[in-house]
Amino acid sequence: MFRELAALTRREFLKLARNPQAIFTSLMLPLLYLLLFGNGFSFNVAQFVNHALPPPEQQQQLSFLLDQYFRGAPNYYSYFAAGMVGFVTVTATLFIGANVIFDKLFGVFKRTRGTPAPSAAVFGSRLIAGSAQPILLAFFVMGLALAFAHVSGLHGLSVTLPVGPVGALQIVAAIVLLSVMFATVFLTFGVLIDVPQTYFAAVNLINLPVLLTSDALYPWGTMPAWLQNVSSYNPVSLAVNVLREVMFGSGAYPYGPGVYLLGLFAWAAVLVGIAILLVRRALRPLE
């Protein structure tokens, strides 16, 4: 099992390395979002502060508004940058299943299936490579947003709390869980579906509603109550909550990051469980 998994995982990474354009394109999209969307859509809550009040009360009011609108982030960009990390994690998993379909079309999958390599190795290798991409991309986005804060004329991510080792681990865990979860879902689609068009239709059916019902991009305070409710159970929101709490503080959150991580874990466990059932059936040694 281990040798098969190692060989097939090596193949996935070799394929990645042979397609540098694909890596370049996958970096361009978040870069554009961070530059254009994040800097174009500025939403300044300081304008709502009553400047007739004495300065300490002004400060109190601002902090209240920041909690209300940005869940404790110091400005919209910082709020948005944390959301972008969740956003790119999901979008980076979209193509993973398509690779399975193209491998089926080009006969490569048939070769693998013609060997005794167990289906767990076939799926696992793709899951490893398929999760590594979004994980790396998530850290790329975070690094970029942090760097932008030091470029004059650009908005960037400002972290207002010291992030200790526990906080850092919580952030990593959230990103890993989110990546593995969506990579599993889209890989399963790739295994079950044979036609690229059908695959992309199915993926959009999941991807768009999930992203649009999360609080990754909208300012929390501008979301209607029903959307805030739905968003609380959304896995992207759960992951982003962890990031925001660790970086900006827990004031605006009913629960600590550990609870959201648990929620993410529950999502991941259910989805991976369903995937294992479906994939084991689809990749039986004999069709």
């Binding site: 490569v108 048939k110 013609g114 005794p116 390599a117």
Partner: protein, 339 residues
């Protein structure tokens, strides 16, 4: 089951989606060390049979035993012991030939160092050394086929399945491919199950042949047996005008099966045309009829094939594996061109 049987098929049947009967109750045996040809027109059910024998497709009915294992019960162990060359190309174009081989070795659980040395050996054997570290998408058709063969041999199988292995190769490529197979047969006693549309190849390479049509086996035998069943050699004797009738004289010669006269030419069907001709010429000359010309035609496997599978052109319901392979090659070519 006698131990010298490599493949035993009994009442094997495949019905796709409950309605398309692709393979219809076939039975045959292949002995160890034998090269067995499986011939048939497009859509006859060859690839479907290969898929069942290589544990890729579950038979609807019947039994297939490969190297002593039932493919339905032990698919993984069957896959471990056999080598397959699929009708379509299966190499990963982004990976080099060497990497393709190493990944395949890993899929059989072969340790890394052993996999690398097997890959190297096969690369040398298949004369791919110069191209071994180039992406497989840059390979020519012949190199691709040799890479496919190398991948199929990575687990040192005792039984090799080849589904139209020389499709699209030029005559040199085909000859080269078969010389590899011949060597493997001689060196390792490899059993080969091969489907092909090139009947001259089958004639030359196969110890025994089965012809399949509409999912049923319509003839089995050695190439010679099959050809002899068509009624031996066809000899045409052109005789000078005004000669006496020779029908009786020719019919009386040993080994003659039939004689037909058409204008000044006698069409004789006989066994062993090469010994019949000198005797016939001598007899005719003695009878005062000058022989102006002689042609001898051995029946080819093409004729056997057409005899058993009919001459009408096949209209297929859906694309067959050949169509898909050709389409795929076109798409791959386009992708390669764009990069």
């Amino acid at each position: 089951m006698p131990t010298n049987v490599a493949i035993e098929v009994e009442g094997l049947k495949k019905i796709y989606n409950g309605k398309i009967t692709a393979v219809d109750d076939i039975s045959f045996q292949v002995r160890h060390g034998e090269t067995f040809g499986f011939l048939g027109p497009n859509g006859a059910g060859k690839t479907t049979t290969v898929s069942m024998l290589t544990a890729g497709l579950r038979p609807t009915h019947g039994k297939a035993i490969v190297d002593g294992l039932d493919v339905s019960h032990d698919p993984e162990e069957v896959k471990r012991r056999i080598g397959v060359i699929f009708q379509e190309s299966t190499a990963d174009g982004d990976l080099t030939g060497r990497e393709n081989l190493e990944v395949a070795a890993g899929c059989f659980g072969i340790p890394g160092s052993e996999g690398r040395s097997r890959a190297k050996l096969l690369i040398d054997q298949m004369q791919l050394s110069d191209a071994a570290d180039r992406p497989a998408k840059t390979y020519s058709g012949g190199m691709r086929r040799r890479l496919e063969l190398a991948v199929g041999l990575i687990n040192r199988p005792r039984i090799l399945f080849l589904d139209e292995p020389t499709l699209g190769l030029d005559p040199q490529g085909r000859a080269g491919f078969w010389s590899f197979i011949r060597k493997l047969r001689e060196d390792d006693g490899l059993t080969v199950f091969v489907t092909t549309h090139y009947l001259d190849e089958a004639d030359e390479m196969c110890d025994r042949i089965a012809i399949i049509d509409h999912g049923k086996i319509v003839a089995t035998g050695t190439p010679t047996e099959l050809k002899d069943r068509l009624g031996g050699d066809a000899v045409n004797l052109r005789i000078q005008d005004g000669a006496p009738d020779l029908t009786g004289l020719l019919s009386g010669q040993p080994g003659v099966l039939s004689v037909q006269k058409q204008d000044g030419t006698y069409r004789v069907k006989c066994q062993k045309g090469e010994t019949f001709v000198p005797r016939a010429v001598a007899a005719c000359t003695e009878a005062g009829a000058a022989v102006l010309g002689v042609t001898v035609k051995r029946p080819s496997l093409d004729e056997v094939f057409l005899e058993y599978t009919g001459r009408e052109f096949r209209e297929e319901e859906g694309p067959t594996a050949t169509d898909r392979a050709v389409m795929l090659q076109r798409v791959q070519g386009q992708l390669r061109g764009r990069r």
